[in-house]
């Protein structure tokens, strides 16, 4: 792919189109001239993949872009494959990447050479929440009771992947309270939730969307959410509880906080006008009812950021992940 020359040509074509076409396009300055590759550094069917495909669906349904968007999964090596591809596509404005926490954890755990600074941050779309779940038939009604039990005997906590967000939270709980937790890694969040329903593990830290159906059917019980504030959904999900009724970890006496980034990046070396196009595009995506429905369903934290604020957040989070990973002994 010819990076630099191509982007200049694209700019020219963009300018030409702007001169001829409607004022809406003139404002954008640049728009894609080829299909946009949307890289998902995770497998099909997972949270990041779902979000990427929803965005792709929204973009085509509401005709937000002239060129098509093509979702490509590059899941190898806990996402390293996708990130390396984006790193290698310097200056290519026809590629965007959706990231999850593996943006920080994968290079630290595997030593594969890349960091978020090898990419151009575009926008934070949302933050994904983590909830401590236990089986509804278990005796633990609060996080404190669960932690007490885990101090007396070793309990099993299931999660997605190894040395990634779920395991970081498990280790953080252990560090903060002295609870003894054996972490059991599985491939996907849905599988983890079912393992808890089947009582093969004693607890999980599933994202809301992964476990909500089992909560509503009465099989699982949420103990606390690892955020500084409660979830926003006030609609009753079960007969007695709404998302907002789940206490925060701090309220429950557990000093652990963790949120996962759902953000969009471009390769390094792209023009500001190109970044602005995608910022604008994602802004429009966020305004659609389809997106709001997804946010509500998954009880996402809908904080969004762009530009310098996003960069500052990334710098802070990277440092925090390094500390967490170091404390857990996960650094490669």
């Amino acid at each position: 792919m010819p990076p630099a020359g191509c982007s200049r040509r694209s700019l020219l074509i963009g300018a030409g189109a702007a001169a001829l076409a409607s004022p809406a396009i003139a404002q954008k300055g640049w728009e894609p001239t080829r299909p946009v590759q949307f890289i998902v550094p995770a497998g099909t069917g997972g949270g990041a993949d779902q979000m990427a495909r929803v965005i792709q669906g929204i973009v085509s349904k509401h005709k937000l872009m002239r060129q098509p968007m093509v979702v490509v999964n590059k899941a190898g090596g806990a996402g390293a494959e996708g990130f390396l591809e984006a790193k290698g596509a310097r200056g290519n404005p026809h590629m965007i990447v959706i990231t999850l926490s593996n943006l920080f954890t994968t290079p630290m755990a595997t030593g594969v050479p890349f960091s978020w600074q090898d990419l151009t941050p575009v926008a934070m779309l949302a933050l994904d929440e983590f909830v401590l779940w236990v089986n509804a038939e278990s005796p633990w009604k609060t996080a404190a009771e669960f932690v007490e039990a885990a101090k007396r005997e070793r309990l099993k906590l299931g999660g997605t992947g190894s040395k990634q967000e779920d395991q970081i939270i498990a280790v953080a709980i252990g560090k903060a309270t002295g609870a003894q937790l054996t972490y059991v890694p599985y491939r996907g969040g849905g599988e983890v939730a079912v393992q808890l329903v089947g009582k093969h593990v004693e607890a999980t830290v599933n994202n809301p969307i992964e476990a909500v159906t089992h909560w509503r059917s009465g099989a699982l019980r949420p103990l606390c959410v690892f955020d500084s504030q409660r979830l926003s959904g006030t609609e009753k999900m079960t007969e007695t509880m709404a998302w907002s009724d789940i206490p925060t970890a701090k309220e429950a006496g557990l000093d652990v906080e963790y949120l996962m980034l759902r953000g969009i990046f471009m390769p390094a070396g792209v023009q500001p006008a190109q970044v602005a196009f995608y910022e604008n595009l994602l802004e429009k995506v966020r305004e659609t009812p389809d997106w709001r429905e997804l946010m509500q369903q998954g009880a996402f934290n809908t904080t969004s950021m762009t530009g310098d604020a996003f960069r500052a957040w990334l710098t802070k989070e990277e440092a925090r992940h390094r500390t967490l990973m170091q404390e857990a002994g996960f650094l490669a």
């Binding site: 069917g45 595997t110 070793r154 099993k156 849905g190 059917s217």
Partner: protein, 505 residues
Amino acid sequence: MEELGLLMQGFAVVMEPQNLLLMLVGIALGVLIGVLPGLGGANGIAILLPLTFAMPPVSAIIMLSCIYWGALFGGAITSILFNIPGEPWSVATTFDGYPMAQQGKAAEALTAAFTSSFVGAFVAIVMITFIAPVIAGFALRFGPPEFFAVMFLSFASFIGMSKGPALKTVCAMMLGFLLAAVGMDTVTGQLRMTFGSTEMIRGFDFLVAVIGLFGISEILCSIEDGLRFKGERAKIDAKVVLKVWATLPRHWWLALRSSLIGCWMGITPAGATPASFMSYGVARRMSKNGASFGKGRIEGVIAPETAAHAAGTSALLPMLTLGVPGSPTAAVLLGGLIMWGLQPGPMLFVEQKDFVWGLIASMYLGNVVGLIVVLVAVPWFAAILRVPFSIIAAIILVVCAIGAFTVSNAEFDITLMLLFGIIGYVLKKLDYPLAPLVLALVLGDRAEEAFRQSLLISQGSLGVFFSNWLVSGIMAMGFALLLWPAITWVLGRLPGRRIRGPATA
């Protein structure tokens, strides 16, 4: 019966003209996707998923699930005609399907494959219709030890059945395990055996290996034999379908057994690929003429196809009732459900009756439509074999390369496919069986993962594999199958007794 009433409502939904049209489109696309190796059902559905975003959920799932049925049917076509499995679950179909094609019985093999696919799916759908909640509860009992036991059973049923020398089988299997271990280790989160190479991070994809080992090596062998297809030209006759159908009722027990194996593997959820291997292995073991398997027996086509389609269909059950995908394709459909604003899992059956029963009704109808579509096309498919080899070989090579590329959009995989082709050719010449290698490659990392998860749970005690009746039962069955050749050998040596032929040593 409440289910029947709901099912009728479901049929009413499916029968709407627009839904019927989507069904036909889905089946046709699915067959095409199934024929192209590499472009599997999962990929195909993922590509088309965003198109369905604006449709009502019922129409969307009807079209996408019909792509899936189409792919299940279509996977058999290239397996039988060219020894190139179009889908992972049709690898076992090549064992007897391709020899049948070489003997000029391609149309028979295709008819048998399509019909038994239909039978397997039908059994699975009936099961989903009437006992879904019970089965869903049973699937919950499967933790890592039980899952490992099922994997163990698949391997065991295979070792016992291999035809060549046992040592060569084990060697091929170990090579498969070795290849499966490359890439990310999900238990520790470390990269293994990538030697610092970016391309190796992905590990060896099963499909790339299969396309090379079977497809490319077959072309190499054909070239060696003089640029033409082995065996007679297929005699095409529309009546062949009826003739094959007349012989099929004889195999009812085989079909039923294979369907049950398929349903079991689909729900547990191990998926269609191990189901097809296991069903083939068991069919060979149970047959009086086990030794003639692999030389073009119709049973060798019926067994894997029935099981694969039964497993593929029942894999949708844990997805709908628990939110856990039973196959990669189901995983993509699961993402689709969420996109359409539906929450898969136990509440789906309660809150979205129209959707669930519309889907189930579309399974019945989709499979009937699918069967008709592919059977009508049998003579055309078989006619492909009349095209001169020098032309078709080039086309196959191109299709294989596209397939290998599509798996993970990587050019390196095309090189890898060619390498596997050479490896496959050498192994064939040295008489090493390819099937155990493939089985270990497809199941190896999942078996390893389940094994290590079990040991994490048990704090390192192997006793976990015998900790309850379910896992002990499956393990015991596995050991019995594994040691079967030894048992028959010992029994055969007992004075005054002779057991017919150590056929499966």
